[in-house]
């Protein structure tokens, strides 16, 4: 069965609680973004929640939009890499190979969504957190790019388990850390190529769906569902 991993994010359900951010941080061994790092504007967040204010005081509304890597089918970051450190897998994942990466940072420059991050410093954790690191995920050294992998370690683990049992991966058998942590179930992960899957059905059954920056023609694998808002008819589309 062909596979294209993808995600649907329902903005109507998103509360901006940032649980996905924290879950991702923990799952993927992302160094702690201290205050210092934020001041340097070098925070690494594989998924981030952007917040926009709408309207004038006192009628202010906060809008949230979680942004992970879009895993574009035609990703601008890939071709500019001189060393094939990032490329498209057959499962529709925009892969980052840390070992090949030499840190030209062109991929990040050419990413319209700003979802690629550079390790400016050697990553460090407080001693107390050393046993918290996920053993299935590489710790990236300084000088390489990193980005959301759609929790590739979970995909592989599930696939291995399925192939050991001689079956196919079932829909909903696993999910990414962000989707797992989302208290409102706003993030749904799955195989877009499988029309039976929940994510494909959500993508198909809605008139609220849109992709970020779709005019660039990159065909992102992350689909957003517009917020249902009786007051403001359009929002995130034109920020």
């Amino acid at each position: 069965m062909s596979v294209r991993w993808g995600m649907v994010i329902d903005l109507d359900r998103c509360t901006g609680c940032q649980a996905c951010v924290v879950a991702c941080q923990a799952e993927n061994n992302i160094p702690i973004n201290t205050e210092d790092i934020f001041h340097q504007r070098r925070a690494i967040e594989w998924i981030r929640v952007e917040r926009y204010w709408e309207g004038e005081y006192p009628n202010v509304k906060a809008r949230y939009i979680p942004i992970p890597c879009m895993h574009c089918a035609q990703a601008p970051c890939e071709s500019v890499c001189p060393v094939y450190a990032t490329y498209q897998t057959t499962q529709g994942i925009n892969m980052q190979i840390y070992n090949r990466c030499i840190g030209t940072r062109y991929c990040a420059v050419n990413c319209p969504w700003h979802v690629r991050f550079f390790n400016y410093w050697e990553p460090r954790w407080p001693d107390s957190l050393h046993h918290q690191l996920n053993p299935n995920v590489t710790v990236r050294s300084r000088g390489v790019m990193e980005k959301c992998t759609f929790c590739i370690q979970r995909i592989i683990r599930t696939e291995q388990a399925a192939s050991a049992d001689g079956r196919e991966v079932e829909d909903g058998e696993f999910t990414t850390a962000c989707a797992q942590a989302c208290p409102t179930d706003a993030i749904v992960f799955g195989n877009l190529a499988n029309s039976e899957s929940r994510v494909a059905q959500m993508a198909a059954d809605t008139d609220r769906g849109y992709q970020l920056l779709d005019t660039l023609g990159t065909d992102p694998a992350v689909l957003y569902l517009k917020k249902i808002d009786p007051d403001a008819s359009e929002q995130a589309e034109s920020h």
């Binding site: 035609q74 071709s79 005019t215 660039l216 023609g217």
Partner: protein, 456 residues
């Protein structure tokens, strides 16, 4: 590159007297071929005007696509006739001596500037206002019509002024040698020219000033044409290099035109003593360089668009190069780039009469094809107010009138130049004469050498 004999051009052994006699003879005696040429050109011009009226003018301005071939021939004349004087100016600024006989051959084409100017004004009707669409005028009042027309008029006036200033010393020679009638044409044109040192100094200064001004006007006008007729008419055609491509390919066509004109003048115009291997060699080196530049500017646009891969860019590539006008484009790349490159990279071809002439003619054909392609692009996209065009229009094919008017107006331009040659000496008498003082043939021990003076 390997050792070849020193060819000593004959022209440098001529005396000023002989040059003047030669120059005036061409004005005095008109062959039957010349008359035949004029008649053919006149017939073509009439055919052209009739097909312009019967074709596009009768159909009116509402459908822009019927104006495609009027636009194309206008483009072609701008890139050849109007660009040729620029070549003359540039050669003068570079101060080589080989260029002296070539200058007039290039700048005589300024006489035909009136033809593209007329076409330009006829085409203004097919031009929508610049409001609410991509345009360098940003919706200024009366744009683009008023402002581009002013530019065009300035260009034409400047071109004629340049030709006149350049020809003035020759008019004086002709006044004295051919037609001594004090109220005759030459006397009127030459005015009080006696060739005093002061007159020459003013003449030199004026010639280079007007010349530089002409180049600047030409580049400005070509930028406007490129934007108004092509870039602005293809929504999403996001290309800042196009005006440069447009100007550079025009210069290439101008060099080709000068080469072909030189060959014709050698064959029929009695100029074989003046337009010699040196001139063909020099011009063909330039043609080779501009062939490479053609590719460079095309490639700079292509690689960016190809690499961008945004939907409108993909459409644009299909439209411009790979689907709609594929065959025209293949013709252009073959004639404007591959022919000069593989033809002229050999010194023995560059240094001949036949080789550069053939390559030059092919470059002109390629340039015409390019202009037809671009004109067709500019007139066939329906919604010019959109940001991007998402559907690739169909290929636009010419009708009978289109072909006739293209040939007709090119013939008209040639006709105007033929008439001008009746009054203006080609090659220039004063310029060739001025060169012979600065060259000498000497014996350097055992070698015959050519010595070139560099007064400045």
């Amino acid at each position: 590159m390997s050792s070849h004999g020193h060819s000593v051009p004959r022209v440098w052994s001529l005396s000023p007297r002989e040059i003047a006699t030669d120059g005036t003879r061409r004005i005095r005696e008109l062959g039957s071929l010349y008359r035949l040429g004029i008649i053919i050109a006149a017939v073509l011009a009439v055919v052209g005007v009739i097909s312009l009226i019967a074709g596009p003018l009768l159909q009116g301005y509402s459908d822009r696509s019927v104006w495609t071939y009027v636009t194309a021939v206008f483009f072609f004349l701008m890139s050849t006739v109007a660009a040729a004087p620029c070549l003359s100016v540039a050669l003068r600024l570079a101060r080589g001596h080989w260029r002296r006989p070539v200058n007039r051959v290039a700048e005589i084409w300024a006489a035909a500037l009136i033809v593209p100017a007329i076409l330009f004004f006829v085409l203004q009707g097919a031009h929508p206002s610049s409001a609410d669409r991509n345009s360098i005028w940003m919706g200024w009042p009366a744009s683009p019509w008023l402002w581009s027309s002013i530019m065009m008029i300035a260009l034409v006036v400047c071109g004629y002024a340049f030709l006149y200033i350049s020809a003035r010393p020759d008019f004086a020679i002709l006044r004295d040698q051919v037609d001594s009638n004090p109220n005759g044409f030459f006397a009127r044109m030459a005015g009080p020219w006696r060739g005093t040192l002061k007159q020459w100094a003013v003449h030199d200064r004026a010639l280079s000033l007007v010349g530089v001004f002409y180049i600047m006007l030409f580049i400005g006008m070509m930028t406007i044409i490129a934007s108004d007729f092509i870039i602005g008419m293809v929504p999403g055609y996001h290309s800042s290099i196009f005006p440069v491509y447009w100007v550079v390919t025009s210069f290439q066509a101008a060099i080709a035109l000068t080469l072909v004109t030189s060959a014709v003048l050698r064959k029929f115009g009695g100029a074989e003593k003046y337009l010699e291997l040196d001139q063909f060699w020099g011009l063909s080196k330039m043609l080779l360089a501009f062939g490479l530049l053609w590719f460079y500017f095309w490639w700079s646009e292509f690689i960016i668009t190809w690499y961008g891969r945004m939907p409108y860019e993909v459409n644009f590539l299909k439209f411009m190069f790979f689907e709609t006008y594929l065959w025209l484009f293949v013709m252009v790349i073959g004639f404007c780039f591959l022919t000069p490159l593989f033809g002229l990279m050999w010194n023995f071809i560059r240094r001949s009469y036949m080789g550069p002439t053939i390559v030059g003619s092919l470059v002109l054909v390629g340039n015409l094809a390019d202009r037809i392609r671009l004109a067709s692009m500019g007139t066939t996209v329906d919604d010019i107010y959109a940001h991007y065009f998402l559907e690739v229009p169909d290929t636009h094919f010419p009708g009978v009138f289109d072909v006739l008017l293209t040939v007709g107006f090119i013939g008209a331009a040639v006709g105007v130049v033929l008439v001008a040659m009746r009054f203006i000496a080609v090659p220039s008498i004063w310029e060739v004469t001025g060169g012979i003082w600065l060259r000498a043939q000497r014996q350097y021990k055992k070698a015959e050498v050519i010595v070139i003076g560099k007064p400045e």
